[in-house]
């Protein structure tokens, strides 16, 4: 679940400051001041001192400009933010690659390797089952307490089970624990590194890290440049989960986007309507060819999981495009040459958009919210407006777990094809194992919807609202 926390708020504060400078055309003059303004002299620091805080903030700005947090050379380490801003302008799209998420080394606390720790509830008993049963001889006894050697411990957990006082606790490394595909691990210095070959861009590590050390490389620099350019048409393609992200109705969000500088606002739920229809046709056709199983394909992180980790399942994933792609295609035909910006809750969409010819940039609700603050646009005070392309309630339902499978199964049933399908709601280690054998466990015709985020897109990594609040607004739109 997406809980509000201080690390997320600091990130948004940086976004607001950066967006403000871009709106005011004072980026190069003032960008290097952001870390100093946010942690002025003699202010209270969050980390060891304000200089550490400032170093982390500098990296955050760099990532928000679209770069990775890594400094490969010494020259990179002393490079000013205004120089990075210049690079962003010059390099444009070329600065992006498949490293969607990046770890800020200065922020990563290098959590201890061993996942088990002896607490001071240890009574130094005579039995000492922890020492007796540790298969790696990783526990020793010092000053009346058991101590685990983190270099020897393999985190098997036996000591925790055998301690009669429950004095040994399991303390996970949050990012590693959250990653469903083991794509994040420590380097020789204990700092976390993301393996781009394994990463599926789900964003779970980013949400899990209590130090806010993992960030997604933002495209807000490019998006703001486009919406400020009055000669260029920009189209906002908003995902259905936007309902409730700003504590108000959809119509007001439409007019807030226009105030911000978007020329057109299109519901991605329109593309979801097309996806639902095409996916149903594909499903019926596949059943006709004696196949029994098909899964959804609209969750890009799920598609990456199959591609990178469960290739045996690949033929079962629907070939139908996602709602974002169909919407982008429609926009491209309607307004050729326009900048097409997908606005959603998703990190993995960034990768999907990069591979597609129909979408230029992606921004999250969190980024949109910060940009609205920077522009001084209050959504609640905007008037109601209709989007330039709206959608049915079927497409809007894609934002919650079960929405896709309800649409496809109901539409298939109306054509006399009956099938089952219990959605897979949220990807974790368990559901990944389930997916590995899914084709062997399904006997009757089934359409399985898979959503990487538990609850669906409403609970994506880039949301601003509590999913509970957002659900209330979405329910209203589905009536």
């Amino acid at each position: 679940m997406n809980y509000i926390n201080n690390a997320a708020i600091i990130k948004r504060q940086v976004m607001v400051r950066l967006a403000k400078l871009i709106f005011d055309d004072t980026l190069k003059d003032n960008i290097d001041l952001i870390p100093v303004l946010m942690t002025p002299k003699n202010s209270e620091s969050v980390r060891c001192c304000i200089h550490h805080d400032r170093a982390v903030l500098k990296s955050r700005v760099k990532v928000l400009l679209g770069f990775t947090a890594a400094s490969d050379t010494q020259a990179d380490e002393v490079k000013l933010l205004k120089e990075y801003a210049g690079d962003a302008e010059q390099q444009g799209e070329d600065r992006f690659d498949d490293r969607i998420l990046t770890v800020i080394d200065d922020a990563c606390s290098a959590c201890i390797r061993a996942k088990y720790q002896v607490t001071n509830a240890c009574r130094g008993c005579v039995a000492r089952p922890c020492i007796m049963n540790c298969p790696k001889k990783a526990i020793r006894f010092e000053r009346g307490h058991a101590i685990i050697d983190e270099n020897l411990c393999v985190s098997c957990g036996i000591c925790e089970k055998v301690c009669p006082y429950h004095a040994i606790v399991y303390q996970p490394i949050p990012c590693e624990e959250a990653c469903p595909v083991n794509a994040i691990s420590k380097d020789e210095f204990g700092k976390e590194k993301i393996d781009p070959q394994k990463c599926v861009y789900c964003g779970k590590c980013m949400l899990a890290c209590p130090f806010g050390a993992i960030m997604e490389r933002s495209e807000m620099f490019d998006i703001l440049r486009d919406i400020k350019n009055r000669d260029k048409m920009t189209v906002a393609m908003v995902a259905p989960s936007i309902a409730g992200q700003f504590n108000t109705d959809f119509g007001k969000i439409v007019s807030a986007l226009k105030k911000l500088g978007f020329d057109k606002v299109v519901e991605v739920a329109y593309g979801a309507d097309i996806t639902a229809q095409k996916e149903t046709e594909e499903f019926i056709e596949r059943l006709g060819h004696k196949q029994t199983l098909m899964t959804s394909s609209c969750c890009p992180a799920y598609v990456q999981i199959i591609k990178k980790h469960i290739p045996s399942m690949r033929s079962y994933v629907s070939d139908t495009y996602s709602p974002m792609i169909y919407t982008g295609e429609w926009v491209s035909n309607q307004w050729p040459g326009a900048a097409r910006v997908f606005i959603g809750p998703c990190v993995a969409k960034r990768f999907e958009a990069r591979e597609s010819a129909y979408v230029d940039n992606v921004m999250t609700y969190e980024e949109l919210g910060s940009i609205l603050i920077a522009a001084g646009v209050d959504v609640v005070e905007c008037d109601d407006q209709e989007p330039d392309k709206s959608a049915s309630i079927i497409g809007r339902g894609f934002a919650v777990s079960g929405g896709v499978s309800n649409a496809v199964l109901a539409s298939a049933a109306s054509r006399g094809v009956n099938a089952v399908g219990k959605p897979i709601n949220g990807i974790n280690n368990k559901t990944v194992s389930l997916l590995k054998v899914l084709d062997k466990t399904i006997k009757e015709p089934a359409f399985i919807e898979v959503m990487t985020c538990e609850g669906g897109c409403l609970n994506g990594p880039g949301v601003t609202s509590s999913p509970v609040v957002a659900k209330k607004f979405l329910d209203k739109m589905l009536k």
């Binding site: 948004r12 807030a256 919210g369 609205l372 646009v377 209050d378 959504v379």
Partner: protein, 82 residues
């Protein structure tokens, strides 16, 4: 009978994005001991975010304006002042 505490939650975009989203759950998570004393009302922007060094999200409890508000801070304040 009017309730003892009138809580206005700022629903302006600034407060909402910078931590206020969670505040919308206040009514549902008021503990039983104070529930009957509290009236939660929605509010448009309280206009506090325009001040320099403002610390959103803002919540107004009767005449008191709380900065960097959170669910627990509001509940604690009410318990202290009843």
């Amino acid at each position: 009978m009017s309730k003892k505490f009138k809580v206005s939650i700022c629903s302006g975009t600034t407060c909402y994005v910078l931590g206020g989203a969670q505040m919308m759950l206040l009514e549902d998570c008021l503990p039983v001991d104070i529930k009957d004393d509290v009236e939660v009302v929605g509010s448009s922007c309280l206009q506090k975010c325009h001040e320099p060094n403002a610390k959103p999200p803002f919540v107004q409890i009767n005449d008191y304006v709380m900065e960097s508000a959170s669910l627990t801070k509001v509940i604690d304040y009410i318990r202290e002042h009843r």
